[in-house]
């Protein structure tokens, strides 16, 4: 694949890494972030968006946690891609996560590249981008950073924490680390630990990035190169895991792309090849390769049971949080058996838990798509919780 030229979009993405088009909170040396790796991160900043209005007693706040390559622009046009927010069908006035009723917060994760401190941010101590000097972060570190943001906003208890995939891992971590701060938790299409298969996929992606000669041991931002080919390959491979065999077959089959017959070359003859190349190249426009390394690593390290003596139920002992666990039938990245492990642990802790498996052939990506039963469940669960919490309609 040809090297990816730095486009206008790419420049915009670079700009958003330090000066995002959303609010930011900056924590100075007086408030260091204690990381699992043992280091203190300071100073650092968190970029976030909010939607709707916080009510008088601050009881209607919902934190939405984004997935691996998502960002804080959950329900507005993305300033880099100019596309709709990644959950614009779910979050908004009258939608299941109703911004007429709830105050929605979404922050860019620690290690990200849309304004929260990460490897592409400026390391002020050395006056150059962090690159590989950035400490390896975990899902728990991401949640600690979010908790500092929530405290900063003066919210003592979130009405709900909601997220899919890596966002779902954050939801579980929130419920385990800060049970008193989470009234309701909705972990979707996720697991309490990353499986060996998923770690394997992530490793292929990282190796693709690091094998790109333009990666320059992570210092590409200083050398003015960009390992776009490697990141595109990483994204292409990951994208396959987000879909299902049935969805790929239905969408593309063996159809040829803009041609009548095979070319007997390595061009993208098949539609599915063309689609993956497009996904890879558009991802490269907006995402930072080092961020990809750090965030996939955070997912790999995630093992909630291991943090609680090897027994997952111990993570939820005495919890009062109301849980709604959701999975999708064709998700092979985070299959329903992963969701069931969470549900069994919650039952063992006598937690208040609902569990719904949604019938869908759209694979892991289903949680980002318009699945009526999924939306009805979200709306119904939040409505029930709102009644239990005594939330009035705004």
């Amino acid at each position: 694949m040809a090297p990816v030229a730095l486009s206008e979009t790419k420049h915009e993405a670079r700009r958003q890494a330090d000066t995002p088009e959303s609010r930011t909170v900056r924590f100075g040396p007086e408030a260091p972030l204690k990381l699992d790796c043992g280091l203190d991160l300071q100073p650092f900043q968190i970029a976030y968006k909010t939607y709707g209005a916080l009510n008088a007693d601050k009881s209607n706040a919902i934190l939405v946690c984004h997935a691996l390559t998502g960002d804080q622009h959950v329900a507005n046009e993305n300033p880099v891609t100019k596309k709709p927010g990644w959950w614009q069908t779910m979050v908004g006035p009258g939608l299941p996560i109703d911004t007429d009723k709830y105050f929605v917060i979404c922050s860019n994760v620690l290690g990200g590249c849309m304004g929260t401190t990460g490897p592409s941010s400026l390391n002020s101590a050395k006056n150059r981008p962090w690159g590989l000097d950035f400490p390896v972060v975990t899902i728990k570190d991401m949640v600690r950073a979010q908790a500092m943001l929530v405290d900063h906003l003066g919210i003592s208890q979130l009405f709900a924490v909601i997220g899919g995939s890596m966002g779902g891992m954050q939801v579980l971590e929130w419920a385990a680390s800060f049970p008193e701060k989470v009234f309701a938790a909705v972990p979707i299409a996720c697991a309490a630990k990353h499986s060996a298969q998923n770690i394997a996929f992530n490793e292929v992606g990282r190796q693709a990035v690091m094998a790109d000669p333009d990666w320059r041991k992570g210092s590409y931002l200083e050398t003015g190169t960009f390992p776009g080919s490697g990141l595109a390959v990483a994204r292409m491979q990951a994208h396959i895991t987000y879909l299902s065999e049935a969805a790929l077959q239905r969408k593309f089959g063996r159809e040829l792309q803009d041609r009548e017959s095979r070319t007997f070359t390595f061009d993208a003859d098949f539609q599915v090849e063309s689609y993956l190349r497009y996904q890879g190249s558009s991802f490269v426009e907006r995402f930072d390769p080092n961020s990809y390394l750090y965030i996939t690593r955070a997912m790999d390290y995630y093992d909630l049971a291991a943090d609680h003596g090897g027994v997952l139920a111990n993570a939820f002992t005495g919890t009062k949080t109301r849980f709604c666990v959701m999975s999708f039938t064709s998700d092979w990245l985070f299959p329903t058996s992963d969701a069931r492990d969470i549900v069994h642990a919650l039952n063992a802790a006598a937690a208040n838990v609902s569990f719904v498996e949604i019938e869908s052939d759209k694979g892991h990506d289903a949680f980002l798509l318009d699945e009526p039963e999924f939306f009805a469940t979200m709306r119904g669960f939040l409505g029930g919780c709102a009644r239990a919490r005594g939330l009035k309609d705004a």
Binding site: R322, S354, E373, F381
Partner: protein
């Protein structure tokens, strides 16, 4: 969990003469009489687990009338999704396997309404109910009812009735018992019977202080409030 109830009989199973004779006169949307009776056995504000909760009808009754903290387990995905979309706390699961995951004494009442006969290991399920709940409320269709005996003896066929509406080859019920059988099981696992009610085919309580043999003959179903001995 698929249940055998009058409701499903009315909704499409073949109607026999027996059904017409026995069809209860109830207003649409009315609470099922067996549900009303169960709700009378539950203390207000209690923690309740309904095993095999279907679409959550009983849970909704218990929450609205008794203000309970209600949860459910249901085998059918449509029942679960419908319940959760209505704000109930329900998980998709199997009474035979998933009750093992609940800790001792997690609930004040564990309810098994018209579900025991569809489980693979009824005894194990019963032991789990008594372990998880301080009380268990169990309702079972009575295979000893005279109408069923009459069908079997006279026609030599597996009976189809309002309480057991499916044909033998379609039914989910694999462990049917009579009221007397159930009472024996309670004795065997050391369950103390706090209250017992027999319902006639229309779902009305058999309001006579009758001996077991009478209930076993005239009760279409029975509801028991049990406690660990």
């Amino acid at each position: 969990m698929q249940k055998s109830t009058k409701v499903s009989a009315r909704q499409g199973a073949p109607v026999s003469l027996d059904d017409i004779e026995a069809a209860p006169i109830t207003l649409p949307q009315a609470d099922r009489p067996d549900h009303v009776l169960i709700s009378e056995m539950v203390a207000p504000g209690a923690r309740v687990l309904d095993v095999g909760c279907g679409d959550g009808q009983l849970l909704r009754l218990l929450i609205s009338k008794k203000g309970v903290d209600g949860r459910g387990i249901e085998l059918s995905q449509s029942g679960v999704n419908n319940s959760v979309a209505h704000g109930l706390s329900v998980i998709q699961g199997d009474a035979d396997t998933d009750l093992d995951n609940y800790p001792d004494g997690a609930f004040d009442y564990v309810i098994l309404s018209q579900t025991l006969q569809a489980t693979r290991r009824p005894k194990k399920v019963m032991e789990n109910l008594l372990r998880i709940g301080r009380h268990a409320i169990v309702s079972v269709p009575n295979f000893g009812h005279w109408r069923l005996r009459y069908h079997l003896v006279l026609f030599g066929r597996m009976p189809v009735t309002p309480t057991l509406p499916e044909s033998w080859y379609e039914t989910q019920n694999i462990h049917l018992c009579t009221i007397r059988d159930f009472v024996d099981l309670c004795d065997e696992i050391g369950a103390k019977m706090e209250r017992a009610e027999a319902l006639d085919p229309s779902g009305q309580p058999v309001r006579v202080n009758a001996p077991w043999w009478f209930w076993n003959l005239f009760g279409a179903q029975a509801i028991f409030l049990l406690k660990r001995a």
